[in-house]
Symmetry: none
Subunit: 212 residues, 4 copies
């Protein structure tokens, strides 16, 4: 008779996924503090006590969101950029494309990862820092590889600052692209790639801009 109208008595794993889904949306829309457990529970279609039973607390729930979404983003970028035989520029391009595509297709996830989480102190900052470190490390690896191929001379600190700037530019562009109608992930990735590769090339050739 009943056609699972409200889907009661679901197994725990399913419920947990629903809850984290709802939480990601709410945290993305309102931020950590402004998001209320009531709203999350209602959006997930369950009662508040169940959220606490399964996820523990608001803090743990937020951490679970960050972990899950960070894993998904990392997975997408890694899957896009893995091609071992490809030259570094091709792999950077693939990684950037995968990154912008993920950000465009999962705006709530990207919102949580890029903005909401940073504004809270520990323990969220740490969780987020790990994601950023992995991405920056991945980019720094590509830059270093390219530098070796080109016999360029760059210090480790330079490589890190560059990777940092590139990651920052990517973050900023992704948010901007999400907010600006008509900008595709491919365009955003191309812009950044153009912007970055030439600059990287120059740096590796030690042709630097200097004041005066």
């Amino acid at each position: 008779m009943e056609h699972a109208v409200k889907a009661r008595r679901l197994p725990r794993v399913v419920r947990e996924r629903q809850m984290v889904d709802a939480a990601v949306r709410c945290f993305a829309r309102h931020g950590y503090r402004a998001a209320s457990m009531d709203e999350i529970a209602e959006l997930a279609g369950v009662s508040k006590p169940l959220v606490y039973l399964y996820l523990g607390s608001k803090e743990e729930l937020f951490t679970a969101c960050i972990r899950r979404e960070a894993g998904a983003l990392l997975g997408a970028v890694a899957a896009g950029a893995e091609g071992a035989g490809l030259p570094p520029d091709e792999r950077l391009w693939a990684g950037l494309l995968a990154f912008f595509t993920y950000a465009a297709e999962h705006p709530d996830s990207w919102m949580v990862l890029s903005l909401r989480a940073r504004t809270q102190g520990e323990p969220f900052a740490g969780e987020l820092a790990r994601l950023r470190d992995e991405i920056v490390g991945f980019v720094a690896g590509l830059i270093g590889e390219a530098a070796r191929e080109a016999d360029g001379v760059v210090t480790g600190r330079d490589v890190n600052a560059l990777a940092q700037a590139l990651a920052g530019a990517a973050e900023s562009l992704a948010t901007w692209a999400n907010e600006t109608p008509g900008v595709t992930a491919k365009e955003a990735a191309a812009t950044l790639m153009n912007f970055a590769w030439a600059g990287l090339g120059n740096l590796m050739k030690s042709e630097r801009w200097s004041p005066r």
Copy 2:
């Protein structure tokens, strides 16, 4: 009678400045939601009703913070980059240097502008968007000027995306520099300038990176 213990009966402008000062610190430290009017009033050394009398509400107070700090940042960048006769690269360099210097010297101000404000919806986003538009516009102007000088061919959309990427990289680098001990404003500015100018030059010469 009066022991001048706590400097009573100050003119309104002074009191307001004290309050906004306190508010910037609190918002920077805790974020918009987590900052409490109690703490702000106490830090400003006034009673809570006075804050409401002068600044209206928490929302208006936050807006006042954003406006004042955005004005200060813009003023600093404009003052640094104004030299009318200088070539565009020198002016971009001066602007970047002024920007990173401001962010380093006023970390609370930069915190409010870069992170805290974005995480809240309207009307703060709008306030912030205006600051960003001004900065991006300034950068875009420089890029356009340079493009004309170099007879390069770039569309307006390209210029905007570039300015956006540059601004994003700058934002990200500024936060990173503030969090990383030993990184000076000048280093950060130099890194970005190197990174950017070559890429911009290539773009304007229409030498683009493209996949495959």
Copy 3:
């Protein structure tokens, strides 16, 4: 198939005993309100619904605890003091010793009976009052018997007040002995016996202390 890992399918009586055991511990440790059915169920090694199935409700469970422990205490005291042929002082001594021994050997039980139960209103107070009445009645019986032997003149009200005071002193001493390391049950019983018997003797000889 079954590894007998957790002793499933036990007879109801055994399960109930486990539950009440666990409940006594929890109520003793946290008090009625602060003890949670979750903790009790977990400590008993069963699921919560089973607790409800067997014991009905938190209130009924607590009542069951009081009843069982009160019965055990009464049984211990009665067993100790029954010797029909002995003189009343010997029987009081035996009863006191049994009482302090029980309190020392079953601290959780004594905690529930002495403190936790009283702080809750009906219906627990009633349950407890019955235990107290039985003990006070037993003591009053001994006092009355001794009074008759000594041809003393005491009213029923006096006997009751005396028994009440004696019971109170005993309660207080038992708790104090449990909390004070190095105090044995026998010492506590002796202290009270010394304290009490002389006063009782005086009273029965109508040698009373009176002010002025």
Copy 4:
């Protein structure tokens, strides 16, 4: 016009007293856990936030209750028993009378001090222990004084156990008197005095009851 119908805008000290009054009633009636801040606030005729503003938290409020009531009880007993020139028995009598009178006239206060506070762990137990120690110390002082006057030989441990038993009997009798209609404070005090003094005298003469 307005006849102070609800007495708004009262000075802080008055409000605090009202709140603690209400809290003592609620804690006495329901115990610490079961008493709700809502009920306390309503009974005090104020809003809940005001209770928190002035008293801090439920724990601090309870502590404030214990402190205030313990002080009042101690003050009453001390005032009753101070007569420096009187013999120890007269002073014990006066102290007991003051004690039972206080317990009879302030049943909620006595409830809080005697039962409610004990069932909670720290920090309430400590607060309460101090009251008990003061009373037991006072009683022990009297017993010791009497022992010296009578050239009796009692160890310090005996004196403490006796004082403990006496205090316990007093506590128990006070509660019993409060619960039993028709028992006056004077009767309760006399019963205990009779009960105690003879026993104390015997002990000091080393005439002890011993089994067998």
